[in-house]
Symmetry: C2
Subunit: 421 residues, 2 copies
């Protein structure tokens, strides 16, 4: 099946919002073997929309339209589709029934603006919206099925999964695409690509290898549309293990924080944090995960020397002689946090996030991290040359990763230690 996508809305043209709907759509379609050929975005202009519908519908089996179903005057999708198909706009009783029930459920009065959402191209089929006021609708335009959906992401999400994808399965048949994703931390895209090329020089042409580098996480994706290649995928994944095993934080969509919370739960261990330059970022990442309270009870954000001393019992003499960004200070911070919290593991971080505060000896980006348990605390210095926010995020990930490696029993030196000065 060949599929095109039309996105509408002035806010997408002015940069006032970033389109994430089309990525959601593509990711929902991929496992069914359907991919998008062209994606066109235009503003709320009737003539442009009509042209766009006709142009996109001329070379595909299905055209998904997203946006422009709302109650205001700049929502023009129904009008444009009616014009492109050369039919009238009429009030659809089923759409009115949906809207009446929706208003009743929310206890609001159906007004004229909402009622506009029931005026749709004559002869269209409705597509149920399980959440919002705007129903979707579909219509043939030449040999192309045009399906119109609302721009609100969670409404689109519900309609795709509950209505559109099942209907397309019946109409177009599904492909056999197999997608297998791994989330990794601690290795870069080019370095992983090189190691995979060396480990598996005979990589088969019918299995695609893809990378998606987020800021601090790397996703690895194996894709095949060849049913016979499924067994190959399983074998490839086994052969990949020696290369990726130290870095894998999960399959599918996951995060380092989610993986660490899960590992701590499985091991019945608690973690505590003593954060200076990361300023609560590690704690915030962990506590975003449901169930974090089972593995985390106390975190200490100790920005100043006085607080490092009064809250975490760091020696004033050591603070004065070695400075706040130093091995003995992070070790004492970790020890203080462990003693105050009773946790099993600690991460302590002290560094210079910038843009100011660097010296010749300790330039911006210098950081000391201590980690481990009370009888096995270690510390490492690194120099991470990222802007403040990325520095904080990357250092936070390193902190979590060091405890992950501890719990997983990984003894190899982490690649990010190459940033030591």
């Amino acid at each position: 099946m060949i599929l095109n996508l039309l996105l509408t809305g002035n806010e997408l043209m002015t940069g006032d919002i970033v389109d994430s709907n089309s990525a959601m759509i593509a990711r929902y379609l991929a496992p069914h073997g359907w991919s998008i050929k062209k994606k066109l975005t235009v503003g709320d202009d009737l003539h442009q929309l009509i042209d766009a519908l006709r142009w996109l519908a001329s070379d595909c089996d299905a055209l998904l339209v997203n946006g422009g179903l709302g109650p205001t005057v700049d929502d023009l999708t129904a009008q444009a589709l009616a014009a492109a198909c050369d039919v009238a706009l009429v009030e659809q009783p089923d759409a009115l029934e949906h809207l009446t029930q929706w208003c009743a459920r929310l206890g609001i009065v159906l007004n004229a603006a909402n009622r506009k959402q029931t005026i749709l191209p004559e002869g269209c089929k409705l597509v149920a919206n399980p959440i919002g006021s705007a129903v979707g609708f579909s219509m043939q335009l030449g040999r192309c099925l045009v399906v119109c959906t609302p721009g609100v992401p969670r409404e689109l999400d519900a309609m795709l999964t509950q209505e559109i994808i099942p209907a397309w399965h019946t109409q177009f048949g599904a492909g056999e695409m197999l997608v297998q994703r791994f989330a990794l931390f601690g290795i870069g895209e080019s370095s992983l690509q090189q190691q995979i090329s060396e480990a598996i020089p005979d990589w088969p042409t019918d299995v695609d290898l893809g990378f998606r580098a987020g800021f601090s996480q790397l996703d690895l994706k194996l894709t095949t549309t060849n049913p016979v290649a499924r067994a190959k995928c399983t074998e490839l994944i086994q052969r990949l293990q020696p290369v990726i095993k130290d870095f894998v934080i999960g399959e599918g969509e996951t995060s380092l924080a989610a993986h660490l919370v899960q590992l701590l739960q499985e091991n019945n261990k608690q973690i505590t944090l003593a954060e200076s330059c990361t300023g609560g970022s590690i704690a915030a990442a962990l506590t975003q995960i449901p169930g974090a309270s089972k593995v985390f009870s106390a975190g200490f954000i100790t920005y100043s020397n006085a607080i490092k001393h009064s809250v975490l019992d760091v020696d004033n003499a050591v603070l004065n002689s070695a400075g706040a960004v130093s091995e003995p200070v992070v070790l004492q911070m970790a020890k203080g946090a462990l003693q105050r919290s009773g946790a099993d593991y600690a991460v302590a971080v002290s560094g210079i996030a910038g843009p100011d505060g660097g010296t010749e000896e300790k330039p911006v980006g210098t950081v000391w991290i201590a980690w481990g348990s009370i009888d096995n605390l270690r510390a490492q210095q690194m120099h991470i040359r990222f802007p403040r926010e990325l520095f904080q995020q990357y250092v936070s990930c390193i902190g979590m990763d060091l405890i992950r490696r501890e719990l997983r029993g990984i003894t190899a030196t982490p690649p990010y230690f190459r940033y030591r000065k």
Copy 2:
């Protein structure tokens, strides 16, 4: 000037990355009065790229192409433009010179893959890339100027601001668009729209009023392309003041955290935090702002009752009788944090972020916030029915906003207190 945009890359079609470049482009162009008419995205397919170039170039003055300039085989922009313009591909000496210097600067050897980036359509003009290896290039296709740029956001950013926009000013002339943005917190889009309609029923038709609702922040935008309307804008902004003054956290692009750090600095005050359900999110938000160390020295993440007692001196008897999510506990948390840190202001938060942990009396979403200085601590209960992550983010913003209001001397009840149970 009529402008179209062509984005290329398989990763944009598969949903592996979300396109933020086009939003960046639109926002850079807007102040010059230039807007984008059509935005088309296609994968790395030569025939599709050639078709797309011809179709988009046929109805605009300038076509900006983004992506496909890299060193790998799936980077096809130069080849597609050469085919669309019916010219040969030739090695460009100036591009080779740029690349040679770029390699020398990074101390790397120029390889064949990189050298591909110097093979460009015959007769094109180079567009300097101040950062990366790939130069941009421009070429006439019919009456349309096609300008090709790299997909790496910071390279695109540098080329747009340093090269392309200045050149377009000369070639096309600039418009007179005036854009004035305000960032607000604590008021919703529909409520603000209604209050503005009531306060300024005679809103002029040549000044556009736009809203951009982020999750917890609302941006208000006044735009006009009419030079005569500039004076009107100034007058409108004055008339808007009574409606927006309590909610404005800044002009242009800003955040609540940045505004609060600045206010604290101006008032020479320090803040401390005692976070339970927000788990360090407030601290992380504040410490992302450069200079946060001047106004923040200590934060306490006290998830468990035992830690609330041992670290912040909350009475065990009160914890047992009132529960962790209660008025006396957040007041004692705030007091404990102020005493331990010596700060001037505190925010203390205790609540049930969910998805588990709710009871009939205190359902998921229940939260108590205490805020103020040691001699003027207050507390408020709310019930915020958002999923965990959004709950944490919104409650964190409320905490910061309460101190912002304190420092600004705003005495009106904040609208979010309507969420009290």
